[in-house]
Symmetry: D2
Subunit: 284 residues, 4 copies
Amino acid sequence: MNNAILLLHCPDKPGLISELTNFITVNNGNIIYLDQYVDHTEEQFFMRMEWELDKFLIPREKISEYFNTLYAAKHQMQFTIFFREQKPRMALFVSKMSHCFYDIMARYTAGEWDVEIPLIISNHEDLRPAAERFGIPYHVFPLTKDNKHELEPQEMELLKQNNIDFIVLARYMQIISEDMINAYPQRIINIHHSFLPAFIGAKPYHQAYTRGVKLIGATSHYVTTELDAGPIIEQDVVRISHKDTIQDLINKGKDLEKIVLSHAVQKHLEHKILAFKNKTVIFN
Amino acid sequence: MNNAILLLHCPDKPGLISELTNFITVNNGNIIYLDQYVDHTEEQFFMRMEWELDKFLIPREKISEYFNTLYAAKHQMQFTIFFREQKPRMALFVSKMSHCFYDIMARYTAGEWDVEIPLIISNHEDLRPAAERFGIPYHVFPLTKDNKHELEPQEMELLKQNNIDFIVLARYMQIISEDMINAYPQRIINIHHSFLPAFIGAKPYHQAYTRGVKLIGATSHYVTTELDAGPIIEQDVVRISHKDTIQDLINKGKDLEKIVLSHAVQKHLEHKILAFKNKTVIFN
Amino acid sequence: MNNAILLLHCPDKPGLISELTNFITVNNGNIIYLDQYVDHTEEQFFMRMEWELDKFLIPREKISEYFNTLYAAKHQMQFTIFFREQKPRMALFVSKMSHCFYDIMARYTAGEWDVEIPLIISNHEDLRPAAERFGIPYHVFPLTKDNKHELEPQEMELLKQNNIDFIVLARYMQIISEDMINAYPQRIINIHHSFLPAFIGAKPYHQAYTRGVKLIGATSHYVTTELDAGPIIEQDVVRISHKDTIQDLINKGKDLEKIVLSHAVQKHLEHKILAFKNKTVIFN
Amino acid sequence: MNNAILLLHCPDKPGLISELTNFITVNNGNIIYLDQYVDHTEEQFFMRMEWELDKFLIPREKISEYFNTLYAAKHQMQFTIFFREQKPRMALFVSKMSHCFYDIMARYTAGEWDVEIPLIISNHEDLRPAAERFGIPYHVFPLTKDNKHELEPQEMELLKQNNIDFIVLARYMQIISEDMINAYPQRIINIHHSFLPAFIGAKPYHQAYTRGVKLIGATSHYVTTELDAGPIIEQDVVRISHKDTIQDLINKGKDLEKIVLSHAVQKHLEHKILAFKNKTVIFN
């Protein structure tokens, strides 16, 4: 798995694919994945390319520099290069509900995901025994409106010490402050228990019940400073009927939330998401 | 098909089902369908019952009176009795788009639905040739904001002359006036091309495109005086991706709209919908 | 939650609902759930009724006898009476894969299900650490074709000692013997990783890949002596594409399998399933 | 819309994309669509590329020859080149049921599809009035087992006179002979009313009802000489319950069949399908 992954976007122009694939091929890289997409409205080119580094002529630590010099600067590219060997480090934020937590733990423990989860952060003690079952350090920050300014910097310090790459809010019921959002741009993944943009904010299942919808949804998105308005990664719905009480909606929604969140995290781990102007390009 | 259908709701109390099924059974009716539902939050009982009239002791034209005297008044029931032999009469309202129109015509022509469609009303000439293919009178009322007060009474007169029971707005792009809505309470069915309550109002596919959702939806509902806020009958969604342009959303949405609208109309024709407090109970 | 649940089916005849609801009402039971269904092809009546026992005149331990004498014998009813206070006892069978196991454990630990899981049985040691995390005794019976006749009676003895009501095969990769199936009729729930009856038997994802289907499925069913042919409880599918490898199908299928199995187990726990002639009636 | 579309597959090797996109770019073609896929199991490369011909240096009638000489022969490519300006010509085969017929006609009449439908062929008179509504010549060949060898050559002659490119079997209930299949390889599209490979052959809804499945499906595929076994283009399912009779399955299935078939036809019209070893690659 000595592979590199290049994610980029830039203004579209003819010949980009040819030029970029050529860069890999002439330097003895073997392309094993290529997907690209042109947004003709925005005139923007998006690409994800993965290649084997074994015989690649450019040393790994120089790839980014070379690519920047030879292509990115010339074409106004925004790009990131990832290496398969570097496991992303994820912080899991939870509150009291356990369904998303267990779904993530099950995948992590079974080795389904290429990720490290060095710590879990919560505002409640409730899931400590569950976290300890999986041997993951559990830190409680009892955040309130009043102490947020004091406690959040401690949280951020802890994240920094653990070299956290991205954060997953697994039904973490607190609003994240602007400082933390800005420190992890497009690297905080939330699950909202509605089909956004319907039912923004608190108690979406109650809102759905009152409106009498026939499907309920869940939405995973990157967190931005505007509540429930960040770039959407994944959504799904499940059918309900007039027979379902609010409690039924909450129960049916749990399965939706955990699957939608886990699929979004997986896409993020595979470096298959590019966010552009509050929308996402999701490569297959 | 000499059957009666009873649709009712009333405050819940013990013994209602027993009492109501007994009414049919002791009078020699054979119940062929019974579904009931108790909303424990609203403490409201809902029921749909269908029975054969062949040996029923109460004459058809007296059933409503007897039922009212013996049960409805006592239990504060809201009820309606329908007879299978009476085909509902439907007015179809269209504008320029034909997909919902053809889906309804195909079912009507194939005899799938127990309905009469004596006329089609439009604000444009566009679908006249299509309507004439199916031999249905096509009336154009070129409604604008300015002439609405003048033309709508003529429309309503035409509906009355044709003994119209209910109206289907098959992507009819005009807002119905309060007078007409009040004349057909819970008898005007609309299709809105979004997953309501997301993207209320104009150009929902453009709104969906801008927000970057991963699913688009369609919603069929009874029209009330508040725009796109009436009781929802049916909803469905289809998956989209970043690759879909607004035109792709419009095209994919058409299949959704026509199926969702036709399913809602079918439920209405089968007398399987009860509206209560801006929500619907849909019997199977 | 001092409720009784009656599940029954019998040849259809007029007046059954009235008679049965009357039985509860006149004896001061408060019906809180009633659903019934008539299969007009089989001329069979199915019903599920739940009522509060607090003021019910017939003592709990006599209900079954009274009901049998007064109604069941007369109408050739097959019936079962359950009490909410008696938690069903479930044995979980696993092999090496953990996704269904964790999904069930998460629900059990979170208290979502009204069930006791006194033991886990496996033919492999692999999931012992996972089981121990949840504090549930884990028994290994290393079954092979050769020793099955020797080991299975020991398994059945263990199940008996633990008063097991029903068995869930959570991707347990062994074929259950006729003796055990007959000891737990319609009380062994399996998950098969295909949309049955497509791809019966071994390696269904490989079969699906070879056939080039565009959706893969999962099916939960009661185990009968014919392989993968028992009454189906729940099925679902997920979209795949030509881009998915066999490993992708296996991964995507896991989410499907765990949700489909858990939903089937939940319906069983709620006593909402009636099996009749190799098909199931599933009450809402 | 003066565009060319290239569909190809060949053994995979490094540098193909670079070489192929370069071919367009250096000859002043503007690529507006590119999608490619590598099947690592089969070591096969698949590509679809569309480009504008306005300034393309190679004359349209020479493109195929040049491409063959310069690339295809060298890389053992199977390829086809289509031109947007050439509308495909489609023959529609129907029997008695009209739902797929109307769905196709509605799209055709509304101009949604870039296609010509010069004739409709049937083994029954039933849909003649419906066909005449849309002004399309309707030819009846009352095929039976006995006269098939006599009538099918006449059908094929008629298809030839009309320069038919591909055939759509819209619930045409006859088995196509090997001669006709071989004359239109991967150019006869069928809709089978089941989730293949479940319920191959006659009366799939009856089979589904008997098996007690919880979802029914529809499958569109290219016709090969083995019954219901050709490469699958599109599939979908809809949820059913024990309450659905066989007639309900037939009715619910109709919506599924028409949408699945129309989506398959649309993909074919857009030249987005490549068939390889009895499976399809479907480009987005």
